[in-house]
């Protein structure tokens, strides 16, 4: 047997999980060849070494640890193995908990929005037709130099300007009030049209639109009031912006206000 055949046979026997040192043909060649003798002894040492290299047993809690990790992820692995949990595992747990906290946060914001809307609606209903405006004085805005526990003083209550209904106004019928509003519109529209850049045909169209006499009584009074308010706000804004003085204060307007100006 040649050395090349010796090696080939040796590996074939190892592939077949047989012990080469038990093969008579190999031993015969090894007895005559020092190199092949060393090779035969080396593989025998390797096989002995592999057998003696014992793998340690997994911990007794291994099955339970796997089951726990399967259900809740690696963060609950017992202390003994906790140090071996990888960063990717921790991120996986974090990702799993994120959707629940997001849902809770969205629900909290939604509830807050609903509560705020309900509170505001309640305030508006309480106010009725009066215009309630809470104001905070400029001096109440805390400056950085103020101590952290400085409290805001209550804002002064602004007197609500409520128009007094005159005897002449009270005696008018809704038709008469509406007619006065229309007259005011007709008087002021050309002037406003010039300011706003309306053409004469636009003004005529607007006049025609408001000259509808088929409106019911229930619609005429609020419509007249809203027209009066709109007209005066428009006029006030234009006039005050030209004069650059104090802004007009919000207040309720009477029919007379629209007509008299």
């Amino acid at each position: 047997m040649q050395c090349e055949n010796f090696e080939r046979r040796l590996h074939r026997l190892l592939d077949e999980r047989r012990a080469p040192e038990d093969d008579a043909e190999l031993r015969r060649h090894a007895a005559a060849c020092n190199r092949c003798d060393e090779l035969l002894a080396s593989q025998a040492a390797l096989r002995r070494g592999l057998v003696s290299v014992e793998s340690p047993e997994p911990p007794s809690s291994f099955v339970d640890d796997v089951m726990r990790r399967l259900v809740v992820g690696p963060s609950t692995v017992v202390t003994q193995t906790e140090a071996a949990v990888t960063t990717s595992d921790r991120l996986r747990v974090k990702r799993r908990t994120t959707p629940m906290s997001s849902v809770l946060a969205i629900a909290a914001v939604f509830l807050l929005a609903v509560a705020s809307a309900a509170f505001l609606a309640f305030r508006v209903n309480r106010g009725g037709d009066a215009l309630v405006q809470d104001q905070i004085a400029i001096a109440d805005i805390a400056s950085p130099s103020l101590p952290r526990d400085a409290a805001l003083s209550p804002a002064p209550t602004m007197p609500i300007e409520k128009p007094q209904e005159t005897a002449a106004e009270a005696s008018r019928t809704p038709e008469e009030r509406y007619a006065m509003i229309l007259a005011a519109w007709r008087t002021r529209l050309p002037e406003l049209g010039d300011t706003l850049g309306l053409t004469s045909s636009d003004a005529a169209t607007m006049q025609g639109a408001f000259a509808v006499s088929q409106l019911t009584d229930r619609l005429r009074t609020p419509l007249a009031a809203s027209l009066a308010s709109t007209l005066n706000v428009l006029r006030s804004v234009i006039l005050f912006s030209e004069q650059d003085s104090a802004k007009p204060q919000a207040r309720l307007w009477r029919v007379e206000d629209a007509v008299s100006t």
Binding site: D37, E38, S42, A44, A45, S55, F62, V66, R69, A83
Partner: protein, 169 residues
């Protein structure tokens, strides 16, 4: 599920320990192997032997950890840092320790193929299936690993005792 883990935990843990060389790393990799396997149990043909499939997953887990190790700096014990020659020489006389050292020097794929063949007793065809490489490649890897280990043992001078034992046969 518990029965499956209980039955194969030894082989899976053993392969992980051989691949990684550290108890805690092996434990973590073996746990991850079973978690992955159990989550994909529905996709497996249970008519076939499940062990090669489990070992393939274990091999993948171990390779991932070895790649992570190679990317980041690793803590080494002080004894290894100072390179105490006397301790190393003494360990070199121990055949078991030398085989363990030799296994640690092998390429990852060579070591995995070698251990799957010699320790897990898988056939070449099964290993090729596990590692998803041709059977000829597996044979080459196992032979090269064996050759490297033999050379390592010869260099370390732990063969003489075996030579005498073989001669006595």
């Amino acid at each position: 599920m518990r029965a499956l883990v209980h039955r194969y935990q030894g082989n899976v843990f053993g392969l992980c320990y051989r691949m990684l060389g550290r108890y805690h790393d092996a434990e973590d990799a073996a746990q991850e192997t079973f978690v992955r396997a159990l989550r994909n149990l529905a996709k497996v043909d249970l008519e076939r032997d499940i062990e090669p499939w489990l070992l393939a997953i274990a091999g993948n887990c171990c390779r991932t950890r070895l790649m992570q190790r190679s990317r980041r700096p690793e803590y080494l014990p002080l004894v290894e840092d100072v390179g105490d020659a006397s301790i190393e020489e003494e360990a070199g006389r121990d055949l078991t320790e030398e085989v363990r050292l030799g296994l640690g020097k092998l390429r990852d794929d060579h070591r995995q193929a070698f251990l799957l063949f010699h320790e897990q007793q898988l056939s070449y065809i099964e290993i090729a299936d596990v590692l998803n490489v041709p059977m000829g490649t597996v044979k080459t890897w196992v032979h090269r690993a064996r050759q490297t280990l033999i050379e390592h043992l010869q260099q370390r001078g732990v063969v003489e005792e075996s030579r005498n034992a073989v001669r006595k046969l």
